[in-house]
């Protein structure tokens, strides 16, 4: 059936769908390895102290990291920023995959109907 659908749009959508399916696990793996939550900096006197707030099950937890700009704070800040970015990208990619699947289904259906019409008109001519 695929050979009868020389549709560039369909080919393009299928390629992108396959690419996303291939890339998504790479992003998910990276995301799973990273800590979750967000950074909170509290000012006490003249100093600023950093904490990671995160959820474990339904419980809200807090992890003390040390002074702002301490190595633990810097490391966690980088990891959480990456984690947030990947979370957004994964969510967007999943939406894209769903949209692509729907578009592919619609175009394939149209192409099939067009192909059948063509077939039946050729048969009726013969």
């Amino acid at each position: 059936m695929e050979e009868n659908m020389p549709s560039v749009i369909l080919g393009m959508l299928v390629d992108e769908h396959e690419r996303l399916k291939e890339v998504l696990p790479l992003y998910q793996k990276n995301y799973e390895e990273l800590p979750k939550g967000s950074l909170v900096v509290k000012k006490k006197g003249n100093d600023e102290y950093a904490y990671r707030k995160y959820k474990e099950g339904s419980r809200q937890k807090s992890q003390y990291l040390g002074l702002k700009w301490s190595p633990a704070y810097i490391d966690m800040d980088k990891k959480l920023a990456r984690s947030h970015y990947l979370m957004r990208e994964i969510r967007d990619m999943k939406h894209q995959v769903e949209d692509l699947e729907m578009a592919i289904r619609i175009i394939k259906g149209r192409e099939e109907r067009r192909w059948r019409r063509k077939e039946s008109s050729m048969n009726s001519v013969n």
Partner: protein, 321 residues
């Protein structure tokens, strides 16, 4: 409407391949750089990484160097006319284009110099009209060669391609659709660059080579469209600063980690011009968490030579208050 856009992809690919074959037979592929959407297909073939997007395009853009290099002249215009291409000019932008119902070809030339000389240029030896565009000299300077159907095609280095996409995608003159496409491509390519240290090294080299206003544009675009990659670029550049400082001053490797941590407040709090003084204090034992205090209390008041012991004492006193 959708049906109108349906093009025979195979016929388009055959046409593109036959043009490449002809250019290769005349030894012309060395004179030009393939840019635009087809470059992504070349990257996919060359690197085989799924992070590289491969987008459908009806455009094939060939970029000449400035000044154009012509190894073996050959009447390219006549050849394109034989294939059925016709020359068209965009009324507004005056861009020249060679159009076919399957493929559109743009010949480009980096636009260097004043805005007055922006008219298309006839490339000697080939006879084609090339449109001049800004920033493209970078795509001729940093290139790679990829094998494609027995030919060696020159394409921009992926790092240069991504850098350009971020800049061009943020230009106010760019149409909204094209800008969005540029930024999407740049974002996907960023993930590919991030995963490969060599690509990041090249991005750093490119940034060192580019004028400051270009780098500022690049940073501004990253800030708007991909803050995560902005961090990666800054971290990578910080590593390069540290490495250079260590090499130039014969610093032992054991200090590297501390200096890298010092880079975080330096970058975030814009202490770049005090970098060297902060590095030296860090090597004397100043913790990264005390850098803002040291800069504000001592460096900015010309007391940068104060010992770390005194800084720590002052910081503790400050804490008790």
């Amino acid at each position: 409407m959708a049906q109108e856009r349906i093009v025979d992809e195979q016929r388009q690919l055959d046409l593109f391949n036959s043009i490449l074959q002809e250019l290769n037979a005349h030894g012309s592929l060395d004179d030009m750089v393939l840019i635009g959407g087809w470059t992504l297909k070349m990257y996919r073939l060359h690197y085989g990484d799924p992070r590289i997007p491969s987008k459908y395009t009806t455009d094939a853009d060939f970029l000449f160097r400035h000044p154009p290099r012509v190894k073996n002249s050959f009447p390219l215009t006549d050849y394109l006319h034989q294939l059925g291409f016709v020359e068209t000019t965009a009324s507004l932008t005056k861009e020249m284009r060679y159009q076919h119902n399957l493929l559109e070809i743009d010949f480009l030339l980096p636009h260097i110099g004043s805005d007055e000389n922006s008219a298309p240029v006839k490339i000697p030896g080939y006879g084609v009209q090339a449109t001049r565009l800004r920033y493209l000299d970078l795509a001729t300077k940093f290139t790679i060669k990829v094998e494609y159907r027995g030919a060696r095609i020159t394409v921009p280095h992926p790092a240069a391609y991504t850098y350009l996409k971020y800049i061009v995608g943020d230009l106010p003159s760019r149409s909204k659709d094209k800008a969005q496409k540029d930024i999407d491509t740049a974002k996907q390519m960023s993930e590919f660059l991030r995963a490969d240290g060599k690509q990041m090294t090249m991005l750093h080299t490119i940034m060192e080579d580019c004028p400051d206003p270009w780098n500022e544009k690049f940073y501004r675009s990253l800030e708007t469209h991909n803050n995560d990659f902005l961090r990666t670029v800054k971290d990578y550049r910080a590593e390069q600063f540290v490495t250079r400082f260590m090499l130039e001053n014969g610093i032992a490797h054991s200090f590297r980690e501390q200096l890298l941590y010092a880079e975080a407040p330096i970058e975030a709090l814009h202490f770049g011009k005090h970098r060297e003084a902060i590095y030296r204090k860090t090597m004397e034992g100043l913790p990264s968490s005390h850098i803002p205090f040291y800069v504000n209390r001592y460096l900015l008041k010309d007391n940068g030579d104060t010992s770390v012991a005194d800084i720590l004492k002052a910081k503790n006193k400050n804490r008790e208050r």
